[in-house]
């Protein structure tokens, strides 16, 4: 009998089984697998219409080793709030109630219930796995689809001309204790964030960048590679916002051109070099904005930013004044 390897960077336990109905190379399947590792068995999922309402398998089967309550498309946040209230009253202690939705169910049709739950600061963990379009229904644009992308409702000749909706900013504006991004190409970071979020009281929002090889018109083997490139090109920065204070978790030293990320995917194949540059500009401006937010929110909170001596000394002053 072979042994369990000693040097694992994520927990070996699996809380879902093989046999599920995800496409080859599915990023959403990996995202779920990692999230479950952090959450453990004392967890309840509620899922609206999305890829995962199919991936889990048809009645009378399930893939997850924890309960999964399916709910209507626009309703997952409210469903989670109801489950959390019910489980609490039933005396079930410390259950992680997770709303698990795609970007359409989050940024579009589900945003009202999400905003309501966040404003109330109900004790749930909302995880959006973001593959940037309605993949379950065959790749239609969502408000999370990025500028330049092809989808079946934004054909190459009329590709999407509006930027991706920034859910992170929207959630930060709700003043909830924890908002973060993750990517399924960085499992250690993802697992750590879910583990951290589950122990925070109140509303937690995590948006996981998850590839969709068919929807991104990409070979399935590039599933992880593409998402790693998204992070390394700063298209999808990994960050945490706790009580309004931003932290960029990964600052790639080398500036990898966005084109490397874009060229891997058929959904951007129609773009010209000039348009690649245009996207590079958007990405650079967003990165600068995030660096500014990180610096300024640290200053305002009087929390020293790693490697920022000015903020550190100001933090001490604030502390002294408060004392």
């Amino acid at each position: 009998m072979a042994e369990v390897p000693k040097k694992l960077t994520i927990p070996p336990e699996e809380h879902m089984c093989a046999g599920h109905l995800a496409c080859q190379g599915c990023g959403a399947a990996l995202a779920m697998r990692y999230a479950l590792k952090a959450l453990g068995p004392n967890t309840v999922f509620t899922v609206p219409a999305c890829c995962w309402s199919v991936i889990d398998g048809p009645f009378p089967y399930t893939t997850l080793g924890v309960p999964l309550f399916h709910i209507a498309f626009e309703a997952v946040a409210a469903s989670a709030c109801g489950l959390a209230a019910g489980l609490e009253i039933m005396g079930k202690k410390g259950v992680n109630v997770v709303a698990w939705a795609g970007d359409g169910g989050t940024a579009d049709i589900g945003i009202q219930a999400l905003s309501g739950a966040a404003e109330r600061n109900d004790n749930i963990l909302y995880i959006c796995y973001d593959n940037e379009a309605y993949m379950n229904t065959g790749v239609q644009r969502s408000s999370s689809t990025p500028w330049g992308a092809w989808t079946t409702t934004t054909p190459a000749r009329h590709f999407k001309k509006r930027p991706k909706k920034d859910l992170v900013d929207i959630m930060v504006a709700h003043h909830i204790p924890y908002v973060a991004t993750a990517a399924m190409a960085f499992p250690e970071d993802l697992v750590a964030k879910v583990a951290k979020a589950k122990d925070i009281e109140g509303m937690k929002y995590l948006q996981i960048f998850a590839s969709c090889p068919p929807g991104w018109r990409m070979a399935p083997e590039y599933s992880v590679k593409s998402v790693r490139l998204a992070v390394n090109t700063r298209v999808w920065p990994l960050l945490e916002v706790e009580h309004g204070v931003y932290n960029i978790n990964r600052k790639p030293r080398k500036r990898t051109p966005v084109a490397e990320y874009l060229k891997l995917q058929g959904r951007f194949a129609h773009l010209t070099e000039e348009q690649f540059e245009e996207i590079q500009g958007m990405v650079d401006r967003n990165w600068e904005r995030l660096l500014f937010l990180e610096k300024s929110t640290h200053e305002m909170a009087g929390v020293p930013l790693k490697g920022d001596k000015a903020a550190a000394s100001k933090g001490k002053e604030t502390e002294a004044a408060a004392g």
Partner: protein, 382 residues
């Protein structure tokens, strides 16, 4: 103990003594006093429940669905546009077989904006798989909600108690509130099966193909049919406790009636005065109140109406292009039976137009004419 209470506050009291554990609701005229009162009960600590103050009726129903799936007793209240917004998830509650109880204050649908009563909002939800009970008085509201919790939790179907805007919701009248211990005896805590529970993981409501979906519907229909028996048993039990016996189809002075006014909701109450007045004038008029609209008491309706000279159905609703909805339902129950009387439909009182004793007498009189059309817009100003 009897207290003078409005219909809306009666709803809140019923949720409280019925020990709803999670309430989730969104305010809408004319239901607002329900959410205000329940907020007050919860804030004052005299109602041990969690009140999720959601951002829409859709979320109100969904939060009830989630909490009910976890195993607790849940309650909400709404009206008209709010009920319509819930429509999708009303199906969800019923198909997930969750015993959510809802009070709907009957309000007409816009546009134009209106806040006054009619039944189109609730009757539009006829086929969602919810039981429906139409209250005649504030006492009916209170009793109906307690009965609904018990029946719903036995047959695993949600239930709606329906009351008219203003005529009941804002009208204060004496209501007999039983002692909490009595209610607790009648309605013990919910014993839930098939709950969402990490100790017994399962998926609920996953993709279901033609091989199995059909059988789930068959079971849901059977549950609704079974509900008829359960309602009869539970109302008997409730009657033995309180002296108030509810009937799914409730006749008033029908024994020898030639003409029967078929009514529902608060109109059923006014109809009793109309019947007494007609009787005093020597006319053989009776009235039949449909309390339970789903499940529909087909057998009772047959038993009470076969052999009558005529039935005049007062519908505070309309199915456009057809007729009043109670009228269609009654006809369907009587169709092809020996002694089936002519069923004459009268739409009346839409959008809160008043239905007075004299209106009901005029409807009965019109029905008795030989050339009475099968379908009538009573009192319309064409």
């Amino acid at each position: 103990m009897k207290q003078v209470v409005t219909g809306n506050h009666t709803v809140a009291h019923a949720a409280r003594v019925g020990r709803a554990q999670v309430v989730s609701a969104y305010p809408i005229t004319p239901q607002t006093q329900v959410v205000e009162k329940i907020s007050e009960f919860v804030a004052d600590g005299i109602m041990d429940a969690k009140f999720i103050k959601v951002e829409s009726e859709h979320s109100a129903m969904v939060a009830c669905i989630g909490a009910s799936a976890a195993g607790v007793r849940t309650f909400t209240a709404t009206s008209a546009q709010g009920l319509a917004l819930m429509h999708e998830v009303l199906h969800w509650a019923a198909n997930a077989r969750l015993p959510v109880v809802l009070a709907n204050i009957n309000r007409a649908m816009g546009p134009p904006w209106t806040i006054w009563t009619d039944q189109i909002d609730s009757l539009s939800e006829r086929d969602t798989g919810w039981m429906q009970f139409y209250a005649e008085s504030n006492q009916d509201i209170f009793d109906g909600i307690l009965i609904s919790f018990k029946v719903a939790e036995q047959v695993l179907l949600p239930a709606m108690v329906i009351l008219e805007a203003f005529f009941l919701s804002h009208t204060a009248e004496p209501v007999d509130f039983p002692e909490q211990e009595e209610v607790d005896r009648f309605l013990p805590p919910r014993v839930a099966t098939h709950t969402v529970d990490p100790e017994h993981p399962a998926a609920f409501g996953g993709l279901t193909g033609p091989d199995h979906y059909y059988e789930l519907k068959y079971m849901e229909h059977n549950a609704m049919l079974e509900a008829e028996e359960v309602i009869k048993r539970v109302t008997q039990e409730y009657g033995d406790l309180t002296g108030r016996y509810y009937k799914m189809a409730d006749p008033y002075r029908c024994e020898d009636a030639e003409t029967v006014l078929l009514v529902s909701g608060g109109v059923a109450s006014t109809a009793k005065d109309a019947v007494d007045e007609a009787r005093a004038a020597g006319k053989k008029l009776g009235s039949l109140k449909i309390w339970a609209f789903r499940p529909f008491p087909r057998e009772d309706v047959r038993e009470l109406l076969l052999g009558r000279k005529r039935v005049a159905v007062v519908d505070r609703n309309i199915s456009f292009g057809q007729e009043g909805i109670f009228c269609t339902e009654v006809k369907a129950s009587l169709y092809g039976r020996d002694g089936a009387p002519p069923v004459l439909g009268f739409v009346a009182g839409l959008g809160g137009r008043d239905i007075k004793v004299r209106d009901l007498l005029a409807i009965a009189e019109a029905a008795e004419k030989d050339d009475c059309p099968e379908f009538n817009w009573y009192g319309v100003k064409p």
